[in-house]
């Protein structure tokens, strides 16, 4: 069976990470596959994992009354899905629906939190990487909110 360590090492999220930390992380990792239409996460449910997308496309959605779900963003190969496992109360804030057949590595949030509590250097490394992603998504959301292509925008 293929070890997940080289797959983690190749993923953009872990680029440049100390191999010793990768060895720690691989114990929390598992391979997952999803079919189109499936929901990987559901708003309000416990955030148990985050996902490194290896292939496919996932739509982040939110719900509003009397209208179809609103797609906020799609995530593709190389992207990360989910950081709610890191921040109390560890609940998902959005739905994530599979658009294209998707392969991913799931990392167990509770397992990671324990390792980060034991090894603060690892925790700091992960937090830096997540902070970068959160910042990028915040900037993108701000631009999206401006609705720059609207007539007379």
């Amino acid at each position: 069976m293929e070890s997940l360590e080289p797959i983690l090492a190749k993923h953009a999220f872990f680029e440049g990470l100390d191999p010793a930390y990768l060895k720690l992380l691989v114990g929390c990792a598992s391979n997952v596959r999803f079919d189109p239409g499936a929901y990987v996460i559901r708003q309000g449910e416990e955030a148990r994992h985050f996902y490194l997308i290896r292939q496919g496309r996932i739509a982040l959605e939110t719900r509003a009354p009397q209208r179809p779900p609103i797609v906020i963003e799609t995530l593709d190969e190389g992207d990360i899905l989910g950081w709610s496992w890191l921040i109390p109360p560890y609940l998902w804030r959005f739905d994530a629906r599979i658009v294209e057949p998707t392969r991913a590595i799931a990392l167990d949030g509770k397992c990671l939190r324990m390792k980060c509590d034991d090894n603060h250097d690892l925790g700091y490394e992960l937090l830096k990487r997540f902070a970068h992603i959160v910042t990028q998504r915040l900037q993108a959301t701000r631009l999206q909110l401006l609705d720059i292509y609207a007539p007379h925008a």
Binding site: R57, A59, P68, P69, V71, I72, E73, T74, D76, E77, G78, D79, V99, E100, Q136, Q139, A140, L143, Q144, L146, D147, I148, Y149, A150, P151, H152, A153
Partner: protein
């Protein structure tokens, strides 16, 4: 130092740049619910104006008004000028309502062009937002016709929603060309949309770039261009001298007389619309400019 942007159209229009030439509408095609592409042919006996990718013309709808519109057609297609116009007000509505055989007045072409000669041998990264793809399409045609002169061609294109994506068939065809990558996204996608959702800057996540070998051409809403430049400069390490953008302002005379399109020390019609970002660094995003 960036290459000096030339104004190839000025000399052609210099005989009397204020006098429109009559052109006949040869075809009108609908691109989206509010955007149309018009092809114009000159009146019999008048040679069609040549142009360089990135230049614009002043299109005169008789009795309604005159508008600056970027040329969106193939620069090597002789005898015809093509424009993609979004209807956003009375004058643009009148323009897109022209039928085949109707007459328009055309001045130009005017302004600076994308520096396609100067960037030979490089990766060309084209980033367009909304109707900003139209002024870049002639540059894409040129690169695809002179493929050996450039290394990779990457097109990043963002629109408001799937129905607003321009030139859908061409985007797909360009993406099948050798060493060419075309990535599209929309800000708002419905449940049936299987493409990407997210602003155009999110497409950078899917790129492997060589910043020292890459030149970027950008056209879209100014705030989008600012976000794109931040991504290119701060996160990707592309030099300001390798970034070019097309700026839009209220152009009237198109030859630098009237001052309507003044932008700091520049007139967009004469010194632009295509600028090297190095020139605009202190101006872009400046309050009330």
């Amino acid at each position: 130092m960036p290459p000096t942007l030339e104004q190839p159209g000025i000399s052609q229009a210099a005989s009397d740049p204020m006098c429109p030439e009559p052109y006949r509408v040869a075809s009108v095609s609908r691109e989206t619910h509010d955007t149309f592409t018009l092809s114009l042919e000159p009146a019999r006996g008048v040679p069609a104006a040549g142009f360089e990718p990135g230049q614009f013309s002043m299109l005169y709808v008789f009795g309604v008004g005159e508008l600056p519109i970027s040329i969106s057609g193939d620069p090597e297609q002789a005898g015809r000028l093509t424009y993609t116009v979004r209807s956003v007000g009375p004058a643009t509505q009148a323009l897109v309502s022209r039928a085949t055989g109707d007459w328009l007045g055309v001045r130009g072409p005017f302004g600076t062009a994308w520096p396609l000669e100067a960037v030979r041998g490089k990766d060309v990264l084209i980033i367009a937002g909304g109707i900003g793809l139209a002024p870049l399409r002639p540059a894409i045609y040129h690169i695809l016709k002179h493929r050996d002169d450039y290394v990779r061609l990457i097109v990043l294109y963002g629109a408001r929603c799937p129905g607003d994506l321009l030139y859908k068939k061409e985007l797909a065809a360009w993406g099948r060309s050798p060493d060419t990558q075309v990535l599209t996204t929309v800000d708002y996608g419905g449940m049936n949309w299987r493409g990407r959702v997210g602003v155009v800057t999110t497409l950078f996540r899917h790129l492997r770039m060589h910043p020292d070998k890459t030149v970027a051409f950008i056209c879209g809403p100014e705030i989008m261009m600012r976000y794109v430049i931040t991504e290119l400069e701060e996160n990707r390490g592309v030099l300001p001298s390798d970034i070019y953008l097309s700026i839009e302002r209220n152009m009237k005379c198109a030859v630098g007389f009237c001052g309507h399109c003044q932008y700091g020390p520049y007139f967009i019609c004469k010194d632009g619309p295509v600028f090297c970002y190095q020139k605009l660094r202190g101006l872009l995003g400046k309050h009330e400019l």
